[in-house]
């Protein structure tokens, strides 16, 4: 039988929180069978506030402290409609109540925020939710990078590298760097891309993208682009 099959609303319970035993004797009573399924205690004993500290130190994210957990952010969220685990209200809750372990377990979800600012727009308390979530995502990238999709890192590094080196974004080069670092460079010649690439070579845009240059005295600007918060 599947793990926790007897639990009503099974989808709301995480696998890791279900305890099942072959034969289980509790206070001298054999509770084998269906009744030996237990849920882990939900008592939250150890508050780990490192995420909260990191987020509050970031000037753009201090508004996290105004949150009243109303959930308007999640209600309007673009990504929550596509990924049920993406829940900005819950991410903020975990940060502020020190449930860092739960947060880290969703590291591969938090970064999927698309930055559309619906949450910030709807927040009745003036939390800049979009930038708070972005900040939490960046923090997770420094503490549990391995739990995040390689595509996240490839995208992140492609942007940072190009911004630091050239101060401007050449989107074809960005895409090439991104695909190369994932070993997917052949996709540049996929049927969906091929037409665009050839057209850009033909009408000169590809050349413009290669020759876009960089701002004057760019070297001195670099550290603000490459820096973390």
């Amino acid at each position: 039988m599947a793990k926790g099959a007897g639990i009503v609303e099974r989808s709301l319970v995480r696998d890791a929180d279900i305890l099942e035993h072959e034969n289980f004797v509790l206070d001298g009573i054999d509770v084998s069978g269906r009744w030996n399924t237990m849920l882990k205690s939900r008592v939250h004993a150890s508050r780990d506030l490192q995420a909260w500290d990191a987020v509050r130190q970031n000037l753009v994210a201090t508004s996290i402290d105004r949150c009243i957990q109303c959930g308007m952010c999640t209600a309007g969220c673009t990504v929550a409609h596509e990924i049920p685990d993406f829940n900005p209200r819950q991410f903020i809750y975990w940060v502020r109540t020190g449930r860092t372990e739960e947060l880290k377990q969703q590291a591969n979800v938090v970064w999927r925020c698309v930055g559309c600012y619906v949450c910030t727009h709807h927040c009745p308390k003036g939390v800049n939710t979009a930038e708070v979530i972005e900040t939490i995502g960046q923090w997770l990238a420094t503490v549990v990078p391995n739990r995040m999709d390689p595509a996240f890192h490839a995208n992140h590094h492609a942007y940072r590298r190009q911004l630091a080196r050239r101060g401007r974004l050449s989107l074809p080069m960005l895409q090439a760097t991104f695909l190369r670092s994932l070993g997917r460079q052949h996709e540049l010649w996929s049927p969906e891309m091929q037409k665009t690439v050839l057209k850009m070579l033909w009408d000169g845009r590809a050349f413009k993208a290669l020759a876009m240059g960089r701002p004057r005295r760019w070297r001195k600007n670099r550290r603000h682009v490459a820096a973390q918060a």
Partner: protein, 307 residues
């Protein structure tokens, strides 16, 4: 030229989204605006440095510093991402004293011109409507887009977040149901098709890294616009164009044939209505069949015209 205004094209418009730049310039020239580019521009940050605290303001503030050094205060921005980033930096500099000081410290340390006053960042759409005016626009229309069923699409960063008091909010744009593009398209004589996805996000930020979600989000927009009866989607952001136009095959893969819909910039529709050719308006550079729709419209208009 009767009026001069600074113009910030940004990286996309300088390279692959040349069509938006070309059509913006055509329309501006017709409306008597002389565009002066912000010199020595850098990227606006493109939303990629948001999690970086104070450093996230650096690139947009640097651009505003260069704008002010040129003796300009108003700057017209076509790209929604640039518009958002520059507005965000201008707002922080003006209303959040602590951040403003730090911004200028960073700029001075790098030998760049600091921000000396609050810059006024204007979205091209807002500038055309509220500075030039719908009346002046309607006077320039020589080829009304009669019968063209256009779905306006604003994206996210044009009007959000409301608390940032960007130029479109000052101009009185509706924060939930923006209508400036509707107004322009109506002025051009097009039939405006309202649809539920006018301001839903295209997922452009994760266009590369989260293909699956980006495909579903763009698919949702295109299919809703098409289902509402549109034959072309009118947009105003090069980042949206990436997903809705160039990578439309992904949207079709995610939600089906209902997502196949030609996409053009609203400035291209303006250029067409002002009498320019589809080629001069950059329609050849659109990937999803915008050229075909406009050529068909022009044939219809030609055959309907009195001899």
């Amino acid at each position: 030229m009767s009026r001069e205004v600074a113009y910030f094209p940004g990286c996309s418009l300088k390279t692959i989204d040349r069509a938006y730049d070309v059509s913006t310039r055509l329309v501006a020239r017709d409306l008597g605006l002389g565009l002066v580019e912000v010199e020595d521009y850098a990227c606006c940050g493109a939303g990629e440095l948001k999690g970086n605290g104070i450093n996230s303001y650096y690139l947009p503030a640097r651009n505003l510093g260069h704008l002010l050094r040129q003796g300009q205060v108003d700057v017209m921005v076509s790209c929604n991402v640039c518009y958002h980033e520059l507005s965000r930096a201008a707002y922080a500099w003006t209303h959040q004293a602590q951040i403003g000081e730090q911004i200028n410290d960073m700029l001075r340390a790098a030998g760049e011109p600091p921000m000396t006053q609050s810059a006024s960042v204007r979205n091209t759409l807002d500038y055309l409507i509220n500075h030039v005016g719908l009346e002046a626009i309607s006077r320039r229309v020589v080829r009304p887009l009669t019968g063209l069923r256009v779905a306006p699409y604003y994206g996210c960063l044009y009007h959000r977040p409301q608390a940032m008091v960007s130029s479109v909010q000052v101009a009185g744009e509706h924060p939930e149901h923006p209508h400036f593009m509707h107004d322009v398209l109506r002025t051009l004589g097009a039939q405006v098709i309202a649809h539920p996805a006018e301001t839903t996000c295209c997922g452009g930020k994760n266009l590369l890294s989260d293909e699956e979600i980006a495909g579903r989000l763009t698919g949702r927009i295109l299919s809703q616009a098409k289902a509402a009866g549109a034959e072309v989607l009118s947009l105003m952001c090069p980042k949206c164009a990436g997903g809705l136009d160039a990578l439309q095959p992904r949207a079709v893969k995610a939600v089906g044939e209902g997502a196949r819909l030609p996409v053009v910039y609203y400035t291209q529709l303006m250029a067409i209505a002002f009498g320019h050719s589809p080629e001069a308006s950059g329609l050849r550079e659109m990937e999803s069949g915008g050229l075909t729709v406009i050529q068909r419209l022009m044939r219809q208009l030609a055959s309907a015209a009195p001899v």
